[in-house]
């Protein structure tokens, strides 16, 4: 892949002590921005990406040449209106789109860091990205938002910096990664590690790629992003370019072919070790761990206005888990709104053109900015 040299990045000099104990310094953080920062510097929105996202939230991703992952949401006159707001999105540390991650080059050895990369957490990701406020000389953000792992980062951001954003919109997420979600992530990691080309994480040194394992990981995860109803309606038992089943293990069904395709395009743009590290960070996410399970305590000092959004058919981060956050905020009388959007599109709803979602987001953001 070419074009990495053109990616915007800052080198963060300030040392960051990771939760695992390792301190990192002089590390790159790749980012992208949309819209313009106004003179008062009160229109900045920080968007956090999900597991396989990156900083290219809108427009064309110059590396993959595909539309940004939140193109439905970010752009002129869209929910996050780039005519009004200055939107910042960074690639998380541990990622593979220019930020410090397993595919970064180790300065000492001159080789890719690979499996020697320290284990990171959502907290580490957020603390690294917080440096962007200094970089842009922004004292306080107008909004922090994101879906799925992006939503977890929103929660962590407010927990760490209670007065650094006016509003917060965590979408389709959870304050504590569930056993089921850890299980699915473990399935993905095991698929990668079972690939003989993974080479204990040192595949890059041997010019190999655990593409099959990563592809299976993506296929399994992709199922969890959809809903049963959505799958049934889109694919049913339809056959793939054939009139009848072939009594073999080729992709007879369209759903099989679709998943294989999703897996195959994913390996071109994503690093297998990054997948291990980022899923691990999600698994370790348990925001109320240090307050004996009392999530309210985590947000005790915040004056941030929250709006939490879930989706009816999302079984990966179901409404009940989103509601836990609402309940915790209500318990401390925080300013919190909540909407469960009706959608058949499963967890992926937040990435898709779901009008009820996009409209509610736009209305909330615009109304909050006015006040």
């Amino acid at each position: 892949m070419n074009g990495f040299d053109d990616i915007k990045k800052i080198i963060i000099k300030k040392p960051l002590k990771l939760d695992c104990g390792v301190t990192i310094t002089d590390y790159p953080l790749a980012y992208e921005t949309y819209g313009k920062l106004n003179q008062d510097k009160d229109n900045a929105i920080m968007v956090f990406h999900a597991l396989t996202g990156d900083q290219f939230a809108s427009g064309k991703n110059p590396i993959t040449n595909k539309d940004g992952w939140w193109s439905y949401v970010i752009g002129p006159n869209k929910a996050l209106d780039t005519n009004k707001y200055f939107i910042i999105c960074a690639n998380v540390i541990g990622g593979c789109m220019g930020s410090f991650g397993p595919s970064s080059i180790d300065k000492k050895s001159g080789k890719k860091i690979g499996i020697n990369f320290p284990v990171i957490t959502i907290n580490d990701m957020v603390n690294a990205q917080f440096n962007l406020l200094d970089h842009f000389n922004i004292d306080k953000l107008f909004c922090v938002t994101g879906g799925s792992m992006g939503g977890m980062q929103v929660l962590q951001f407010i927990a760490n910096y209670p007065d650094k954003s006016k509003i917060a919109i965590p979408i389709a997420c959870s304050a504590s990664h569930s056993a089921q979600n850890i299980a699915f992530n473990e399935l993905g990691r095991q698929a990668i590690m079972a690939d003989e080309n993974w080479k204990n994480g040192n595949y890059e040194l041997e010019n190999k790629s655990p593409a099959k394992g990563l592809s299976v990981a993506r296929m399994a995860a992709h199922i969890t992003y959809l809903s049963k109803k959505g799958l049934q309606e889109k694919f049913g038992r339809k056959l793939q370019e054939r009139d009848k089943i072939k009594f073999g293990f080729d992709a007879d069904f369209q759903i099989e072919s679709y998943l294989r395709y999703q897996g195959s395009i994913f390996v071109d743009r994503f690093d297998a070790n990054s997948y291990l590290y980022i899923t691990r960070a999600m698994d370790y996410f348990d925001l109320s761990k240090n307050s004996n399970g009392d999530l309210s305590k985590v947000f005790k000092n915040t004056k941030t206005k929250f709006f939490i959004i879930s989706f009816t058919s999302d079984w990966l981060y179901p409404t009940a888990e989103n509601r836990e956050i609402v309940i915790a905020l209500n318990a401390i009388n925080a300013d919190v709104g909540f909407l469960e959007v009706k959608s058949d599109k499963g967890h992926d709803s937040f990435l898709l053109d779901v009008p009820d979602f996009v409209n509610a987001l736009k209305n909330f953001v615009d109304n909050s900015y006015k006040k």
């Binding site: 309940i327 209500n330 318990a331 009388n333 909540f338 909407l339 469960e340 009820d356």
Partner: protein
């Protein structure tokens, strides 16, 4: 804005915190927000109504009062409003006790089943009443626990709930209810508006 909302709004002091339970499309909340207090929030069961509230820039939580009121801490609001919804709950008694717990003052309004038109319907027509404040037929009404003004007053008295202001509304005319005119108001009023405290 309907007369009932005007009376509720008049009962609220400025800059106090308000929770509107079953806030509908946010009409009352918006009025309160613009004229009385910015510290107003809503709880609403209908997704469409929640969207309408968000459109108006109001803070609203999608939820069911019978399940979700319990998450609000005690004495967390100066006022809790429950407008013409009490009769639709499975357990109105539980909801009232939650309102009293959450709010320093609760404002509860009820469509009066003691209203003469209601009685007339049942007495002479022999059919379930359909009136302005009770517009549905028996088979599609959301109302499970209808009560009259007198029933509600008795309910409060039996439970030692401090009923410190009772108003009656008929044809947009407001009047006070007291123990001397209770039977009369119970017959002549479409709507009862009550301010209650623990």
């Amino acid at each position: 804005m309907k007369e009932e909302f005007k009376i509720i709004a008049k009962s609220i002091q400025s800059e106090k915190s308000i929770l509107d339970v079953g806030c509908g499309d946010g009409e009352l909340m918006k009025f309160i927000y613009e004229n009385i207090s910015k510290k107003v929030r809503g709880l609403e069961i209908s997704k469409d109504n929640v969207q309408k509230c968000i459109q108006k820039g109001l803070t609203v939580i999608e939820g069911n009062a019978e399940i979700d009121l319990k998450q609000f801490p005690s004495n967390s609001f100066d006022y809790v409003i429950l407008s013409q919804t009490l009769q639709a709950f499975l357990n109105p008694e539980k909801v009232i006790s939650d309102l009293l717990r959450i709010g320093k003052t609760s404002i509860v309004t009820i469509p009066n089943f003691g209203f003469w038109k209601v009685r007339f319907n049942l007495l002479f027509k022999g059919t379930m009443p359909v009136t302005k404040t009770l517009p549905n037929e028996w088979y599609n009404t959301p109302n499970l626990h209808m009560c009259s003004i007198k029933d509600f007053v008795n309910f409060c008295n039996d439970r030692k709930i401090n009923l410190f202001k009772s108003l009656a509304l008929t044809n947009n005319k407001v009047s006070s209810i007291n123990k001397f005119n209770l039977n009369f108001k119970n017959l002549t009023s479409e709507l009862g508006i009550f301010l209650i405290e623990k």
